[in-house]
Amino acid sequence: MSTESHRPSFLQRYIFSTDHKVIGIQFLFTSLFMLLFGGLLAMLIRWQLGWPGHPLAFMEKIAPEGMPGGIMVPEYYNMLFTMHGSIMIFFAIIPLLVGVFGNYLIPLKIGAGDMAFPRLNMISYWMMPPAIAIVCAGFFLQGGAAAAGWTAYAPLSTTLGPGQVCWIVAIIVLGTSSIMGAVNYVTTIINLRAPGMSFFRLPLSIWALFITAIMVLLATPVLASALILLLLDCTAGTSFFLPAGLIIDGIAQHNSGGQVLLWQHLFWFYSHPAVYIMILPAMGIASEILPVFSRKPLFGYHSMVYAIIGIAGLGFLVWAHHMFASGMNPTLGTSFMISTMIIAVPSAIKTFNWLGTLWRGSIRLTTPMLHALGFVSMFVIGGLTGIFAAATPVDLYIHDTYFIVGHLHYVLFGGSLFGIFAGITFWFPKMFGRMLNETLGKLHFALTFAFFNAVMFPMFILGIAGMPRRIYDYTQYAHLAHVGGLNRMMSVAAFCLLASQLLFIINFFWSLFRGKPAGDNPWQANTLEWATSSPPPHGNFTVTPTVYRGPYEYSVPGHAKDWLPQHDPLPSPGGH
């Protein structure tokens, strides 16, 4: 908790700040903007799927090459789903969960004044705007932005234009930003915990962010290496992923010695842990919110911690379940099937423990609680549908179909995004000193929940019917001639889903300026961030707190209030 004797300039306080809270909020605004952009791209995808080949007049001005006369061409569609996926994963979900909540919450919840490396933290945010500029530059280059899917499988990704190269460079930049952030998180959590804050008194969201950061440190360098190899194959004539004998576009290629499947192994070695990087913080947030609004301790705190560690560890052993049909040795199909089945167990444990937290609670359905419950209920669907894919022979059928698209959207939107909404609505009062409007918040949740299910649940049906993914025009196939109606309904729901986010945007900005003042602890919660003002001062705590108990001592028998903060020196029976 350093005291600054000089008065920092506007630039130092709000633009190039080293204060973790400011950096967290910078990530928040940037990532929410990218979330909206990714959502708009999805609307164009849903337009094409609902009304294939129909013109969308105003798009002719915006994308004259991609939608001439308003009619989408196939390469534009390929670019749309590539950029939708890439932006959502790398520029929205990961920065929101890891960049926003990691940065904002870690020092506050462990009782520290800031991160261990504040300047490194600032650099890690400031790598994001250049990455955005680079990836979006692709839209203006010949051939458009990247169009090989967010998975960028070689050799296809080596045959596309400069937009693909921009994509590769941008992700390398973002990966570097992630690694910097992770170094900070791990160091801060290990070294800067307040007195009394033992590891097993840490709030579960901090455990989740801690383990997530370790995953980032182990996995992201592999992605960066793979991307550098791919970049060389695209630009320098190397053959890491390109075998001999390729004939691309009628021209014999001069590569030899490369292995196509190597890209997939390297890519998924990162990208599977990445999906756990995208769910663990959300699980941590849900575990934080459920006790507060059930007024009950988290059920099975220790198991929850071990489950997080289990998911993270096993998460590094399942990557090739994305490759069952890839042509790899079938024995690997068996081994990865086993590890994938095993990883379902810790997720199940967590789900039951959340239910256990609700059991015999005193439940208040506030907006953050609704989003957290939405997270739990939708993550269950995402997780259960994953089991179909884990059963390898079934995966041979549903791989690369809409079943997988449905599964991934249930875990990423139903899971991660509801977790993000839960976190934003829960910590908005702390961040900005004002309350969000509850009525708008509940309405936003209800509409988002309903429309989200309406878009995503039929995807399972479509996948079972055999509709492949990444298909510009499914009406080409006789066996898909009858799915048009369902696709149209999903598209209408998608438009309504995006429109519903207006409620969130209005609520957010209106409350920023006109929300009811929040006070220090509007939710009557126990963790350390609620022990200081809203928003907290630079340095977070005027006096370093001392921690006496765990984070979820709610409804302690014999105690007058139904909450007992971690830093309150009153003794508590049975606390640890």
Binding site: I71, V73, K442, T475
Partner: protein, 267 residues
């Protein structure tokens, strides 16, 4: 809370109604872009050059011969795409070398290579390249640099026009819907630029891009004609997609017509 549930269920029912009520699924050949009638400019099998701005009165004509027997074209497997196959009652062969019984060689691009002076502004009327029956029409044609090239999809199937020039900017544009048009320009002279379609690999066309209007493509009988030339001495080049190029020098006076013949040897 329950009110929100009612609302969301109602909303769900409403838009399901919208989805279901929209009628039958759309077809790939959407009834959207009205296919305007193709501009009647320069569409013929042996397109004539546009009338030159600086009109001379000399002309050069002749015949391109093939010495020997033309190799047979390959039969195209149109079954790959039923939309293509339906449009052809008889099997189609590739057009790499097409000669008539007298040895007249078709689809040879003949143009003035050297000897012209002055500039010839590009016409604004487009040259049209059609994709009909999964076949490029015409197979070989000429265009002036910076003259618009309008590429039209006449088929109810996806074509992509993959142009692979070496001097000009390459492009690859998909036209998934019948009637779609794409307009492109070549800015630099290049003989010849190859077009192919990735969806129908047998489709092939060539365009000779020159900076003046003095070019022609030999017809079924191997005959070609270039008129409106100013008097002078020129080098003429004949380009054939398999046999390469041949040049000949010719001198023409005002109002005169010179005959220049080319002969390629069959291999």
């Amino acid at each position: 809370m329950t009110r929100s549930r009612w609302f969301s269920s109602l909303a769900l029912a409403v838009f399901v109604g919208i989805g279901c009520g929209s009628g039958k699924p759309p077809e790939a050949s959407a009834k959207t872009t009205t296919a305007e009638p193709a501009a009647p400019m320069q569409l013929a099998e042996a397109p004539a050059a546009a009338a030159p701005v600086v009109a001379g009165s000399a002309s050069v004509r002749g015949t391109v011969h093939l010495n020997g027997t033309a190799p047979k074209g390959e039969v195209v497997k149109m079954g790959a795409d039923p939309v293509c196959q339906q449009q052809h009652a008889t099997p189609v062969v590739t057009e790499e070398v097409v000669a008539n019984a007298q040895g007249g060689l078709k689809n040879v691009f003949v143009y003035v290579k050297e000897g012209l002076s002055g500039s010839f502004p590009a016409p604004t009327t487009p040259v049209v390249l059609n994709q009909t029956g999964c076949w490029y029409q015409p197979h070989v044609f000429g265009i002036q640099a910076n003259q618009p090239l309008e590429i039209v999809n006449d088929d109810a199937t996806l074509h992509n026009i993959n142009a692979k020039p070496t001097t000009n900017q390459p492009f690859n544009v998909a036209q998934p819907v019948k009637g779609m048009k794409t307009t492109k320009k070549f800015t630099k002279p290049e003989v010849a630029v190859h077009f192919k379609c990735n969806v129908h690999p047998w489709m092939s066309a060539y365009v000779g891009v020159v900076e003046h209007p003095f070019f022609a493509v030999s017809g079924d009988d191997g005959a070609f004609s270039i008129s409106g030339l100013p008097a002078g001495t020129y080098v003429l080049e004949a380009w054939q997609e398999k046999y390469g190029t041949q040049t000949q020098k010719v001198t023409v006076g005002d109002g005169a017509a010179q005959t220049v013949d080319f002969t390629f040897n069959a291999q």
